[in-house]
Symmetry: C2
Amino acid sequence: MDLFKKSWFTEVYDMSPGMCLSIEIDKVLHHEVTKYQDILLLETKNCGRALVLDGIIQCTEFDEFSYQEMISFLPLCCHPDPKKVLIVGGGDGGVAREVVKHPSVELVDQVEIDGRVIDLCKEYLPSMAVGFTHPKLKLHVADGFAFVRNRLHNYDVIITDSSDPVGPAVPLFQLEYFQLLRNALKPGGIICSQASNPWSKTKEYADVYKICKQLFPSVGFAYTSVPTYPNGIIGFALGSLNKQTNFKEPIGVFKEEELSSMKMKYYNEDVHQAAFSLPNFIRQALKES
Amino acid sequence: MDLFKKSWFTEVYDMSPGMCLSIEIDKVLHHEVTKYQDILLLETKNCGRALVLDGIIQCTEFDEFSYQEMISFLPLCCHPDPKKVLIVGGGDGGVAREVVKHPSVELVDQVEIDGRVIDLCKEYLPSMAVGFTHPKLKLHVADGFAFVRNRLHNYDVIITDSSDPVGPAVPLFQLEYFQLLRNALKPGGIICSQASNPWSKTKEYADVYKICKQLFPSVGFAYTSVPTYPNGIIGFALGSLNKQTNFKEPIGVFKEEELSSMKMKYYNEDVHQAAFSLPNFIRQALKES
């Protein structure tokens, strides 16, 4: 299939079998194949600029804020004092942009395997890559798996902003990786990972839940609406070493004026609580996992 | 563009400009043009059967339950005793299937303009059209607008399950129609209409809010995740003649066993509350409307 036919980019993807999203494009800004992946930067007609890795849309300027704000503030607002944060992946810079906004955060380590993604996002997606310029952030171009292995009891919050559980990112959805994350947390620490698509990949979503339940005394499963992701949705898996953590009730609550001055376009206390409210078919899948 | 190229049906649609969804199909079950619209029934590869009107996906067996359950139970569960219900549109029968489940409901009038949609859904979509067989239901093949005009102070709940605010359905999103709905309600009555796509059509969503605010002492705005709708989401506008109605807090709460025996795959008290939790960019649009 000609993926660029008539200026539409089409994502054909196993994450939503039998369904695919197409985005109208004005221009291919850049295309390059690195040691790790195929990188494509697009100027779209109605979704701003988009980053595509191995043919899969990672983010568009139209809707990225939902994902970036939620994967960052769901865990940050459930920790009483998140001073030190690790971001695994997140080469576009959007998660870093959000994490540094939290007033408690003092230091953010970020480990991204592909330096070219970072360079290209700095060039073509400055609205996200602005995250890389913050003085709280220390950027490491390295393998996340190896990096986490060597950071024992180091972080209050660890966010895994990876691609989906197909191909190279599969290990980031497996038990061993979550064990490493747990070991890299300080007492009471919290992890948050993207957890696949709860509609078409309900079983995969439930599998991550099963792993988290094995490793963390408190777990939370959430999702948010992101139109350019498969099925228009993405799941999040959260785990806390503090068994008192109730993920649905944020500890850190920001007032409307604070959210506004932090330029939060999506996150607020209401959507935090709502993100953990699961439909019956998802509840059922988690119960059976 | 050949919409059936390589067995994919593609929806090119102004409701999510610059984005379009394609669904892999096994077979065209039926295609017919009536006085009102182009009707297409598809056997898809992974989404079960689908109803398409004028090129727009109305429902697929994969995800229809989210929409049908939510548009029905959000208003029903906010009314203390919803005995008499009107459904405008809803030719596939899915909303009727849900509404008759509610134990308070005694009588349901449904008015659908196109009798052929009903016939074809009975033939090809029995999982939805089962709603038409219930003894509580009285089906009228007529124009919804005219029907509502003649029913003063008649209903506890009115649900408008229409197509989107483009073409023939535009009047169902305008002031005059909402005035008719208000007049057709009994004291304390509640309306619920689908209200467009809050991501790409934020302004249109806010416009419906503005109309509801003019007419009802209590209003609620909600949304739910439906993967095969534009942007994977659909909005709902609710209005109540009872100024005490707090849409976010359902009055009628069903226990888990009740929901299970009612075969509810999506709706529960948590998702009810969550549906009214709006992201900041939508809150802002409603405020400015």
